[in-house]
Structures are given as structure tokens and as C-alpha cells.
């Protein structure tokens, strides 16, 4: 099961079991849902943005280990970041889960999801929460769909 352990790393299993920032923000400034029609997973993200900075970010929903852990890790990575950095981080993260690139510096714990690149059908799981955040920032009202 060695190669499976590359996908299901300890950090991922941990975040799946005990997701961080897993709650609803009562008065978010931004909010969006992400839906993966393939498996029916649904993730809601809530942001509290002040002066262009993500003061707080949380999520709720039901998903597989990859999408839950990715959402959890994402909230940790984005908390306190200026919103201008979201796109940059997303691009770097997307490269890590889809290409054989060297992991760019500054991704920190997010790079534990690099194993996803060997499981193309799971890339959408890893990026679901990110798509939701980007939609929230663009203030999309409708649920985004990972297709």
C-alpha cells in the first residue's frame, strides 16, 4: 500500500478526521458553495474580509478525505493572508496537484496533497474548496461546479 500512502499522507488523514476551521461563520462578508457533481460532494466556504485581508475563513460540508483535508489545509493557509495572494497560491497549488513540478516554496503544508497528481480523477476533489473561495471572492451567487 506504499503508493496509496503517498496519496493518503498522515497530515491528510489527520485533517480529514479533525478538520480545522470546520464551522459556519455567522456573518461572513463572502460566501460560496462548491459542488463536485461526480461524487455529489458539497463544500461551503465562509470568509470574513477586512481591508483586503482574510481575517477569518471557515468551511462546512461533506466530502471525501481529499476534498475535506484540502479544504481544511486551505483555510489554515489562507487565514491572515491578503486576498491578493489567493490567486497566486491557488496557481501554485494547482501546479502541485496536476503536474510533476518541483513543489514551489511558500506552499507549506499544502504540498502534502502533491500525491493527488498520480490520481487524475481526484484532482477535482483537491481543488473543490479553492474553486469555492475564488467564487466567493468574485461574489458569485451560484454554487461553482468543478467541471
Amino acid at each position: 500500500m506504499n503508493d496509496l500512502r503517498d496519496l493518503y499522507q498522515e497530515v491528510i488523514l489527520d485533517h480529514n478526521k479533525r478538520p480545522r476551521n470546520f464551522r459556519i461563520l455567522p456573518h461572513p462578508t463572502h460566501h460560496a458553495d462548491g459542488v463536485n457533481p461526480l461524487c455529489g460532494d458539497r463544500i461551503s466556504v465562509y470568509l470574513d474580509i477586512e481591508d483586503e485581508v482574510i481575517k477569518d475563513i471557515t468551511f462546512q460540508g461533506a466530502g471525501c478525505a481529499i476534498s475535506s483535508a484540502s479544504a481544511s489545509l486551505m483555510t489554515e493557509a489562507l487565514k491572515g493572508k491578503p486576498i491578493a495572494e489567493v490567486e497566486h497560491l491557488f496557481d501554485a497549488f494547482h501546479d502541485v496537484v496536476t503536474t510533476d513540478c518541483e513543489c514551489p516554496k511558500g506552499l507549506g503544508k499544502l504540498s502534502v496533497l502533491a500525491g493527488v497528481r498520480d490520481y487524475p480523477s481526484r484532482v477535482k476533489c483537491a481543488t473543490l474548496a479553492w474553486h469555492a473561495v475564488r467564487a466567493a471572492l468574485e461574489e458569485h451567487k451560484e454554487a461553482v461546479v468543478t467541471e
Binding site: M1, L4, L13, N16, K17, L38, C39, D41, C64, C125
Partner: protein, 410 residues
């Protein structure tokens, strides 16, 4: 087990694709409800058509066209016999169950359904037996009504009875549920509808490879199925319809092959079944379906069903012993598949881990999202059986599920 015991090793040997290894493990293919693998006889029949006698049908005077036409029409007769339909005019080739249902929704529905009417389906339908009716309702102002089912996955007949008293113009239900494995009491459901003069469409996508279907005994107005679920190629399906209804219905699509005479003023349509087969069909694949039905007949659907049932019983017992595993769909009458969830492991993760063990299952909503909503789960894992599956393969599945527990420390 039964006296109908099959030589599964011999049957497996007829499926070239089953010999392979995936991720270094022997392939254990348990995604048969999505699509079943093809025996060599079917692959050969298609190759033979393309290498020996392929040409367009119904329109050539030359030898190849005649041979293709004969082989194509022979399949229509094979389908008629397989369903025990009264006439080959009642057998229409389509692209699959989905197109068959859309044909009825568009042609029959467009003709008979008006604002205020109702279409009655069940809560356990595949999206392909929901969305065409929703579209029809949007077009006409009719309403879609849904028969609920119990926690076990059985239709609530008292509710069905009650709903039939509405202004229902058509009942459409799934014979064998792809999400739950429930085998619905088709004969009874049809009789109850007919007692009120309501016509019935049966979605036979899942039932066709697992049980003998006699459309005259069922007495349904329409029956739809796909070749790819009964060892035939993808891209071909069948709509059975009672002749009198089909004759009265307007064409579904316009084009070549479905006409008698075209002028710019008016077109006379061809007789059944050509009226509903506009354009060049998937000729070689229809012929492949004929070969698939021959193949199934040679083994015998009763023997196939008995083998699959024994597998289902065995799998149900084995899976039930895994702590935290919950089977979804525990109807008294079931066939061919078992859907389940595991506490602490999402079906998507189960699917990935099983795949690395060589086990192919389906993880997701199985194109039956309302069923998932009914049970409050986003998705399930599903193992589904075909004639070539074995008890050993069920054991591999069970061992792989223990690996899931190990991985997630459940």
C-alpha cells in the same frame, strides 16, 4: 448451490479484458451495473461486420448492403424473441435507454400530456427517467409526481395507489434500481395503473441482463433498455412499444430512413419501426447486440440469474460482517448489486483504495441523486455482479475493504 451451476472459469475465458492486471493485481470487475464487459463472440461479430459485409442498410441494391440489412433486421427479430414482443414492428433501435425514454417523453408525451396532467415516477429513478419528464412538464405545464419508498428501498404501494388517482397520463418506473438493487413488482405496478387506464413505461436498463422479461406478460406499454448492460456494445438501445400506440405517435426525429415520400409540401412517414429510426443507425453495434443476446441465450438467463443471486447473497453476508459498513437497499426482492457506505470513509476514497487492489467498483451518486438525498448521504459505493464474477472476487473485495479500514484507522 443450484442445479443450474455454471462453469464460470469457462465463461470468464471468453472475456479478453478480464485477463489483465491493474496496478499489478488481477482485475476484479464489479462495476457491471454501470456497464458490463463484452465476450469475444460479441467483439468478433462487430469485427466480422466491419471486415466482411459492412454497408449502409435499407438503401443499397448491392450485396453488402443487403447482407448488412439482413443482419441488422435479424437482430430486431432476436430482440423481439428475447422480450417476447408480438411483432418486430414493436422493436425500435435507439442509442440507449436514455434515448428510448426521451423518445417516449417527446413523442408520446408531446401528443398526450397537457397542462394540469401528471406524470408519475418513483423516488428511486435514474436521472434518465427523471429529467426527460421534467423537460416534458416544463414544456406542457404538467406536474411530475413521485412515489416514495421505505428505508429498506421498497415502493410504498398505498402511496402509489393514492397517487394513481390523480390526473396521471403516464407511469414510468425502474424495474431494477441501479442505486439500491431493488426489484420492483412490475406486474403489480402495471396492473394497478391499467386498472385506471394509465399507460406504463418500464426502465429496464438494469433488469434486462438479470431476469427474463416478457413484455406481453408484463403488459407494459413501453420497455426501454441498453445493449451495453447486457454484454453488447455501447451506443445501442431498444425501445419496445405496443404497436397501436407507436402507430398513433408522431415521429421523434426527422431524416432519412423514416419516410415513405418526401416533397417540400408534405412527408409521408414510413411504417413501423422505421418511422422512429431516422438516419443511419449504429449498424455494427446493433448486430453486436444480436450476438450478445445469442450469447446470453446460450447460457440461459435463469442460470445467470441464479449465479448472480448466489453471489449477491454471499456478498451481503460478507459485507455485513465489516463493522461500520452499512448496506443501502435491503428490499426483500433484490438483484445483482449491493450499495453501501462505510463509517469514516467516503465512497470516493473507498473507490480509490479498492482500485489499487485491482477492484473496480462505482463510487458516487449513480445518477440517482434523489436516492442519495432520501438517505441523506452524498454518495455510496456499489459493487455489482455479472455472470463472470466469482466468490473469490467477493473475497478480494472484502479484503480490500478491510484495507480501507486500516488506512483510515477505523
Amino acid at each position: 448451490m443450484s442445479t443450474l451451476e455454471l462453469d464460470i472459469a469457462r465463461i470468464r475465458a471468453e472475456f479478453p479484458i478480464l485477463r489483465q492486471r491493474v496496478h499489478g493485481k488481477p482485475l476484479v470487475y464489479l462495476d457491471n451495473a454501470a456497464s458490463v464487459q463484452k465476450p469475444k463472440a460479441v467483439i468478433d461479430a462487430i469485427t466480422e461486420c466491419y471486415t466482411g459485409y459492412y454497408a449502409n442498410i435499407h438503401r443499397g441494391v448491392h450485396l453488402l448492403s443487403e447482407r448488412s440489412t439482413v443482419a441488422y433486421e435479424k437482430t430486431r427479430e432476436k430482440v423481439r424473441a428475447f422480450l417476447n414482443a408480438a411483432s418486430t414492428q414493436e422493436i425500435i433501435f435507439t442509442r440507449g435507454t436514455t434515448e428510448s425514454i426521451n423518445l417516449v417523453a417527446s413523442s408520446f408525451g408531446g401528443q398526450t400530456v397537457k397542462a394540469g396532467d401528471e406524470i408519475l415516477i418513483t423516488g428511486m429513478e435514474h436521472h434518465s427517467n427523471i429529467v426527460p419528464w421534467q423537460l416534458l412538464c416544463e414544456r406542457t405545464g404538467a406536474k411530475l409526481k413521485v412515489v416514495p419508498f421505505t428505508d429498506a428501498g421498497e415502493l410504498i404501494l398505498e402511496e402509489y395507489e393514492r397517487l394513481l388517482d390523480g390526473p396521471v397520463k403516464l407511469v414510468a418506473f425502474v424495474h431494477l434500481s441501479n442505486a439500491l438493487g431493488t426489484l420492483n413488482p412490475a406486474r403489480q405496478l402495471i396492473e394497478m395503473a391499467h386498472a385506471r387506464g394509465i399507460p406504463v413505461l418500464v426502465d429496464g436498463a438494469q433488469s434486462i441482463p438479470h431476469l427474463t422479461v416478457d413484455v406481453q406478460a408484463l403488459d407494459c406499454e413501453f420497455y426501454a433498455f441498453s445493449a451495453h448492460k447486457i454484454y453488447g456494445p455501447s451506443g445501442v438501445g431498444v425501445l419496445y412499444g405496443k404497436k397501436a400506440l407507436l402507430e398513433a405517435m408522431p415521429p421523434y426525429q426527422g431524416g432519412g430512413d423514416m419516410i415513405r415520400l418526401v416533397t417540400f409540401e408534405k412527408t409521408d412517414y414510413a411504417d413501423l419501426p422505421n418511422k422512429f429510426e431516422a438516419g443511419t443507425p449504429s449498424i455494427a453495434d446493433v448486430i453486436g447486440l444480436g450476438s450478445a443476446l445469442d450469447w446470453v441465450n446460450a447460457i440461459g438467463l435463469d442460470a445467470i440469474a441464479a449465479h448472480e443471486h448466489a453471489l449477491l447473497d454471499y456478498a451481503t453476508v460478507q459485507l455485513s460482517e465489516i463493522p461500520g459498513l452499512k448496506i443501502m437497499g435491503t428490499a426483500r426482492d433484490k438483484a445483482a448489486l449491493v450499495a453501501f457506505t462505510m463509517q469514516g470513509a467516503h465512497p470516493h476514497d473507498i473507490g480509490t483504495i479498492l482500485d489499487r487492489e485491482g477492484v473496480a467498483i462505482r463510487a458516487g451518486h449513480h445518477c440517482a441523486q434523489p436516492v442519495m438525498q432520501r438517505y441523506g448521504v452524498p454518495a455510496t459505493a456499489r459493487a455489482s455482479f455479472a455472470v463472470y464474477n466469482t466468490r473469490d472476487e467477493v473475497d478480494v473485495l472484502v479484503a480490500a475493504l478491510w484495507k480501507v479500514k486500516e488506512m483510515f484507522e477505523l
